[in-house]
């Protein structure tokens, strides 16, 4: 235990400070943020994305804030584009199996027939995606696509 923490514990034992004050002091010493995190910055204005153009969608961002808890994820959309190319390494029998398994579960998608161009269209269409849910003081969930890292 560090000297500062020991002193705080002593002060608590002597009744000079309350348990809440002791907690706040210890958190301050350890550099732990107490209280809600600052609000998220505004979503940058969506640029005009062009298919394959210089201003195309680059990142999918997911931001969740709930009091002290936060999740920030930035996924490069090139991962999806490259993943589509990997599809060609999967044997067609496996692809048929996956498609039939998905169909059994009610998902009617022909993975074998999925083309790179189709996926590009989906990714380009994602540029219009903007989800912004704020529940008063409880939390915020935001999902959007941007070209800024």
């Amino acid at each position: 235990m560090s000297d500062e923490v020991e002193r705080i514990v002593d002060m608590l034992e002597q009744g000079k400070i309350s348990a809440g004050d002791a907690k706040k002091l210890i958190m301050a010493i350890k550099g732990i943020h107490d209280g809600p995190l600052p609000p998220l910055p505004p979503i940058p204005p969506a640029p005009y994305f062009r298919a394959g153009g210089p201003g195309r969608a680059k990142f999918l961002k997911v931001e969740v804030r709930n009091g002290d808890d936060s999740v920030d994820v930035r996924i490069p959309l090139d991962l999806i584009r490259a993943g589509m190319k990997l599809k060609s390494l999967v044997p067609s029998q496996v692809m048929e199996n996956v498609t039939s398994q998905l169909k059994d579960k009610g998902i009617n998608v022909d993975l074998d027939g999925l083309k790179k161009e189709d996926m590009d269209s989906v990714i380009d269409a994602l540029s219009d995606l903007k989800v912004d849910i704020t529940d008063g003081s409880k939390g915020t969930v935001r999902v959007f696509v941007t070209d800024q890292p």
Binding site: F59, A82, K85, K87, S88
Partner: protein, 90 residues
């Protein structure tokens, strides 16, 4: 396309130290290996196609390298009041 150069990992208490991993030190291994694999796939695919196999081998191999490169700029940051998990690929 450039593969990831640095990976930052931080798991633990807030304000603690993170770990920077210099992945660029592996480039002398990764880049020649990737070039060799892509070249090999480019040569073998036409041969295998004659026998009705190897379809998409070249595309898949380049896709694998592109996927490695696409991991650049990936960022995952999860934290609560006390602990934090942070992964950044640069």
């Amino acid at each position: 396309m450039i593969p990831p150069a640095l990976v930052y990992i931080k798991i633990g208490k807030k304000g603690g130290m993170g770990l920077w991993i210099p992945v660029f030190l592996l480039w002398p291994l990764i880049l020649p290996a990737a070039a060799m694999c892509i070249l090999l796939a480019g040569i073998t695919e036409p041969v295998l196609r004659i026998f009705g196999r190897g379809k998409g081998l070249f595309t898949g191999t380049t896709g694998l390298y592109q996927m490695l490169c696409a991991f650049r700029h990936l960022r995952i940051n999860v934290r609560n009041g006390v602990e934090t998990v942070s992964i950044r690929i640069i």
